[in-house]
């Protein structure tokens, strides 16, 4: 390695990224045996719903905000968009409750919890800006009701729910970017730290200690990093 190469910012970033998330951790082909419950499906279901939301939302955005009001196909894509949002929140809420009861912030995973919680909180205004951008009676009613809460804490001074143009910008660009960035950070942190291990029972620890001589631990496969 030359001196110039060692001082390269690109090389430093690459080396740090690979050290933090080697490919076998980023895209594992094995997972711990304790990952065996339906509750684990709701995290990936949330991401899948987000993919459907963004795909249907992109189609709606390509045709403009009024398209879905006067075409059947537009209304159909709006319906997919709306139901995907409902599925997204449902899956995310179940996922959050599941992770709470697993105490999934254990083992150095506090940032995983924090990014997940913030994602939920940012998703709420992302959905709200969609509801007030609908250009129908729901948008009229929701915006005139929501303004009072936002005005009361001063947010209305720079985030005006009765300004369709501003809300549409937030809904189709700014807030989705925030959600995608947060979800990406959340998933990368999960991959880095691994899925949180079970809360170990004292009785099992005692029995495991007693059986140490008979049963050595199974080493993880070469392609999978143990949760850190």
């Amino acid at each position: 390695m030359s001196g110039a190469h060692e001082s390269s910012w690109t090389v430093k970033v690459r080396e740090k990224a690979v050290a933090a998330l080697p490919p076998e951790k980023l895209l594992p082909d094995g997972q711990p045996t304790y990952v065996a419950s339906w509750i684990y499906m709701f995290g990936v279901a949330s991401i899948a719903a987000l993919v459907v939301i963004i795909t249907s939302g992109t189609i709606l955005a390509l045709k403009g905000p009024a398209w879905w009001h006067y075409t059947g196909i537009g209304h159909f894509f709006n319906s997919i968009h709306m139901w995907a949002v409902e599925l997204f929140f449902f899956a995310m809420v179940v996922h959050l409750w599941g992770k709470y009861w697993m105490a999934a912030w254990r083992g150095g995973r506090t940032r995983v919890w924090i990014t997940g919680a913030i994602t939920f909180l940012v998703a709420v205004p992302t959905a709200l800006t969609g509801y007030v951008s609908q250009q129908n009676f729901d948008a009229q009613w929701i915006s005139t009701q929501a303004k009072d809460g936002l005005n009361s804490v001063g947010v209305g001074a720079f985030f005006n729910v009765t300004n369709f143009g501003q809300m549409y910008s937030y809904h189709v660009l700014l807030l989705p970017i925030a959600v995608v960035v947060l979800v990406s950070a959340h998933v990368l942190l999960v991959r880095r730290h691994g899925v949180v291990p079970p809360i170990e029972l004292k009785a099992r620890l005692v029995s495991a200690s007693a059986g140490e001589a008979q049963a050595p631990p199974t080493p993880p496969p070469a392609t999978v990093g143990a949760g850190s």
Partner: protein, 346 residues
């Protein structure tokens, strides 16, 4: 151990692994969720109630329209007395010494008399009677203007109250069944009846919808003016009540029809249903502050004693990991063996 670094005996997993195809699982999940969303869309569609317009309001509730317009003119409407971010006619809500609404200031200035009544009336062409009425109104002292507005609005308010309470309607307000125009019998109203009659005509023709959106530029995306004007009146409320969307019925978390709406706002809407928030003049800021604190607590759960310990005390985790607990326990990992000294000959 500290608040930020609580005791944590979680060890990295040293047990067995099973085959797993992350990419395949993600693709299947997207497919299943997409199919589910399509199925729900086919079965239930989505709501799209047409928006109300100022013209509809003026045609369907003409007395309510002129009553609201009179309060916009005399500065007593909800928007006229709102305070920031629309005007300086009120301080807005506060919690103890916290006046966030006032501190953030007026960012969308609205003068209800000029923006909702006088400005639009100036756009009406070829009406000398109206122009004379406007000139008379604007030449009068503010106190007189207010007295004229109140004298005109009072019979309308009495009429609306009687209707709401189911009492016999006073005969001071009448609506022409053919033209839909409103007559108010009152003295001391100055030029206000002429102005209100013209405004009602303008609104019924649809002209006021356009006037309320007109500003310095051609393209418009800001509906603050017409929405706040309509929110001061009764048509949006009436439609919302018909759809059970009122604040006392969990408000904006619902949407029209039998759709789930923003169910995730249930906790936010809950506070408005109970005391001391329900009847507080500062309900909005109090609810927002409570939700702000709860949101911060939600993010900080890993650091909050008691809340972070609850999952160990209520063993739902035993259900989640029941297969793991049913399997024989793996022994703890052996301590690392000392590394052999390399053979210098090799």
């Amino acid at each position: 151990m500290s608040l930020l670094h609580p005791k944590d005996d979680t060890k990295p997993w040293m047990g067995a692994y099973q085959p797993y195809d992350l990419v395949k699982e993600a693709c299947i999940a997207v497919g299943v969720i997409a199919l589910l969303a399509i199925l729900l869309a086919v079965l239930f569609s989505s709501p799209d109630e047409k928006p109300s317009t100022v013209a509809q309001w003026a045609r369907q509730l003409p007395a309510n329209f002129v009553e609201t317009a009179a309060t916009e003119l005399d500065g007593t409407s909800g928007t006229a007395t709102y305070g920031p971010p629309y005007n300086h006619n009120g301080e807005g809500q506060h919690a103890a010494f916290i006046y966030l609404q006032k501190w953030l200031g007026v960012s969308h200035p609205i003068n209800t008399a000029d923006d909702y009544v006088i400005g639009p009336l100036r756009t009406v062409p070829n009406d000398p009677t109206l122009q004379a009425a406007l000139a008379e109104y604007q030449a009068a002292p503010q106190k007189t203007q207010k007295a004229w507005g109140e004298a005109y609005a009072t019979p309308l308010e009495e009429d609306a109250q009687a209707e709401e309470e189911g009492k016999p309607l006073p005969k001071t307000v009448s609506i022409d069944p053919h033209t839909g125009m409103v007559s108010v019998q009152a003295t001391g109203t100055g030029p206000v009846p002429v102005m209100m009659t013209s405004l009602l005509s303008l609104a019924r023709s649809g002209g006021l919808d356009g006037s309320l959106l007109t500003s310095k530029q051609f393209f418009q995306t800001d509906y603050t003016n017409p929405l706040l004007f309509m929110a001061d009146g009764g048509l949006l409320d009436q439609r919302a009540e018909e759809q059970h969307l009122g604040g006392d019925e969990w408000g904006m978390m619902n949407e029209t029809g039998s759709y789930p709406g923003q169910a995730w706002l249930w906790l936010y809407a809950l506070w408005y249903q109970i005391e001391p928030f329900k009847n507080s003049e500062n309900a909005d800021i109090l609810v927002m502050l409570v939700m702000g604190v709860l949101s911060l607590a939600f993010i900080s759960i890993p650091f909050i004693p008691g809340v972070r310990d609850l999952p160990r005390k209520i063993p739902i985790y035993k259900l989640i990991w029941r297969e793991h607990y049913a399997a024989p326990a793996s022994p703890p990992p052996a301590p690392p063996r000392p590394q052999a000294v390399p053979d210098p000959r090799s």
